[in-house]
């Protein structure tokens, strides 16, 4: 605003505006008018944040310390929910299942994304087509339909099982086998590598070609160029993808429910697909333990927050932000 004021005082001093007569002078009036306009445009968002985000967060924090079944008044029980949680074997199990899913699935997905992005980065005929085609699974991967496909293809004696047996790998029932249901779910997330791939591609295009040419002149091989040029140059993009994918995969729900669901339940064989969000849903909406479920939600948020903080801490060690290479 100030810059506009100095160069074009006429902009804020429209003769018809009533604010002109206010004692603070036209400058303050103009600023006030801007603020008013800003909040007018932001009204829906502000109402939304208060009503659907910040308010609910406070309520959820309160409920985490209560015993609440949706119908009676919440009863304050202090830290009981959290003590119960730590003593709850199924809670620990759901934490293990989710962590395994996140810690195995995310690196595999990002490795696939980066690998294919490196394949696609050189301009070649059909590049745009492949990019779109590989991206498509990200749009449909979390749908119930694709869950049903996975569930069918990975059944005992179905296509994948028989193909695997053909190459001498008899894993058993896949979705129906407690040991292999989670890996099946992981393949479904890896299949959706397209979204991070597209982001990697945009990042790779920003790496100056001269760097590679200079390195080649110096006799650096493919691996060396990747380690010393590509990786450092795209480390901000890698960091961003890692953060996004980690947070995203902690929230896995639909795929796990469809893969592991039968007869109205979920969790898969021997609870091997009991992901955190399903367990939270089960406690909150099936058993009506809303207080306990709120406590679970806050534990999840603390966990994700902690992980994010650790990631940001390590950033200095491996993420290189250089002037001029900023994506903007």
């Amino acid at each position: 605003m100030t810059r506009t004021q100095m160069t074009r005082p006429d902009v804020v001093e429209r003769p018809r505006t009533p604010h002109r007569r206010t004692p603070e002078g036209p400058r303050a009036a103009g600023r006030r008018r801007e603020t008013l306009a800003g909040y007018l445009f932001l009204t829906p968002w502000c109402v939304g944040v208060l009503l659907l985000t910040l308010g609910p967060m406070l309520v959820s924090l309160y409920l985490a310390f209560t015993d609440y079944n949706l119908f009676d008044t919440p009863r304050w029980i202090g830290l009981r929910n959290f003590r119960d949680m730590f003593a709850d074997d199924r809670w620990w199990h759901s934490v293990r299942v989710t962590l395994e899913y996140v810690l195995v699935g995310t690196p595999l997905k990002l490795a696939a994304a980066l690998g294919v992005a490196l394949l696609l980065v050189r301009p070649r005929r059909g590049q745009g087509f492949y990019r779109s085609a590989f991206y498509a699974p990200s749009l449909i991967g979390a749908s119930v339909s694709i869950g049903i496909v996975w569930r069918s293809v990975f059944q005992d004696d179905a296509v994948v099982d028989r193909a695997m047996r053909f190459v001498g790998w008899d894993a058993g029932g896949w979705v129906g086998d407690p040991d292999w249901s989670l890996p099946t779910l992981v393949t479904l997330t890896v299949w959706q590598f397209g979204a991070p791939m597209v982001i990697f591609l945009a990042g790779l295009k920003q790496v100056p070609r001269e760097l590679y040419e200079a390195a080649e002149v110096d006799g650096a091989g493919v691996w060396r160029r990747f380690r010393s040029i590509t990786l450092p140059m795209i480390s901000p993009v890698l960091f961003f993808n890692l953060l996004l994918e980690l947070i995203h995969s902690f929230q896995v729900f639909t795929s796990a429910v469809v893969l592991g669901g039968s007869g109205g339940g979920a969790g898969g064989p021997a609870d091997s697909l009991l992901v955190y969000t399903w367990y939270l849903y089960e406690q909150g909406f099936r058993n009506l333990r809303m207080g306990y479920a709120s406590a679970m939600a806050w534990m999840l948020m603390l966990g994700i927050g902690l992980l994010t903080a650790v990631l940001f801490r390590t950033q200095r060690g491996w993420v290189h932000y250089e002037e001029g290479t900023d994506a903007r």
């Binding site: 006429d10 902009v11 429209r14 600023r31 603020t35 306009a37 800003g38 445009f41 829906p44 502000c46 109402v47 939304g48 944040v49 985000t53 609910p56 967060m57 309520v59 959820s60 409920l63 394949l119 070649r124 059909g126 492949y130 990019r131 779109s132 498509a136 699974p137 749009l139 749908s143 119930v144 339909s145 694709i146 049903i148 496909v149 069918s152 293809v153 004696d157 179905a158 296509v159 299949w191 597209v198 982001i199 591609l201 945009a202 961003f240 996004l244 947070i247 902690f250 929230q251 729900f253 639909t254 669901g261 039968s262 955190y276 969000t277 909150g284 909406f285 679970m296 939600a297 999840l300």
Partner: protein, 285 residues
């Protein structure tokens, strides 16, 4: 190295590249092609059959769909999903573009703080909100209506789209606003007649993503809808799984494919918008 050798080498590399890309494409597309093929196979052959496409395609599965699920016509689920998806698109376009305009083009007290709040809601796990929001809508007697599923869209709760539009609006030349202001336009006019038309690409991207996300949404309808005639396609499909009978396998697979069609069509029509939207919004984070 002679030029001939270099040229041959280059051709070899191109061939290898295409072979690799095509092999990958086959793996990526396999599940979708499988689904298409399976939907034309008899129900009891779907899981066991190794052939990708049926030897003798049948349309029984699709005919089975016309009988509906649990006495509800399948078209009901599709109508419900469509109403929700279109309602969401309108809401997101209106509320998110207004919020984005404020963040990108108006200087007001508290803007940076509110912007930071908006960005942090991007990273907030939704699990923290589902219980208190459910309690709220339950107290307001809005369970089993579409209000809980739509309200957030009209209140710009999808920060991702606000962010996408802010990025876009920031890159529009400022001189446009200033010229318009000299001509006596206020913010509503500038927003409506100048900024919005120029934001078309961002609006289209947001609209398609909103449609697809709403169409695929599962946990929202699962939480709030409890009468089958209000169910969306996702919940209709879930009913198939819960019945768990082989007799309906064909119907389930056929409906899975029909449920994917709108998303696939959108993708084919707007792939450039989608891929580029995904790439830039990510990078600029």
């Amino acid at each position: 190295m002679t030029p001939a050798v270099t040229a041959r080498r280059r051709t070899m590399r191109t061939v290898a590249w295409h072979a690799g890309a095509l092999a990958l494409l086959a793996v990526i597309l396999y599940p979708v092609v499988w689904l298409v093929g399976a939907s034309f196979k008899p129900g009891d052959e779907i899981v066991g059959s190794l052939e990708l496409l049926p030897g003798r395609p049948i349309s029984d599965n699709y005919r089975r769909l016309t009988r509906g699920i649990a006495d509800i016509p399948v078209s009901t689920f599709f109508t419900n999903s469509l109403v929700l998806a279109l309602g969401s698109v309108v809401g997101v376009l209106v509320s998110c573009s207004a919020a984005a305009y404020a963040f990108a083009r108006i200087r007001f007290a508290g803007r940076n703080l509110l912007f930071a709040v908006m960005i942090s809601t991007l990273l907030l796990p939704f699990q923290v909100l589902i219980i208190p929001q459910y309690v709220l809508f339950q107290k307001l007697d809005l369970i089993n209506t579409y209000v809980p599923l739509l309200l957030g869209k009209y209140l710009a709760a999808d920060a991702f789209f606000v962010f996408l539009m802010v990025q876009f609006m920031r890159n529009l030349p400022r001189e446009l606003d200033e010229a318009a202001r000299i001509d006596g336009c206020g913010h509503p006019r500038i927003f409506w007649s100048i900024v919005l038309p120029l934001c078309r690409p961002a609006l289209i991207t947001s609209a398609i993503f909103t449609f697809i996300w709403s169409w695929n949404d599962f946990i929202g309808p699962l939480l709030y809808l409890n009468e089958p005639d209000k169910y969306t396609v996702s919940l209709g499909l879930k009913m198939f799984i819960d019945q768990d009978s082989v007799a309906d396998y064909g119907g389930m697979v056929a409906m899975s494919l029909v449920a994917l069609l709108p998303v696939l069509l959108f993708f084919l029509a707007f792939q450039r918008h989608l891929v580029e939207g995904a790439a830039t919004s990510g990078l600029k984070g």
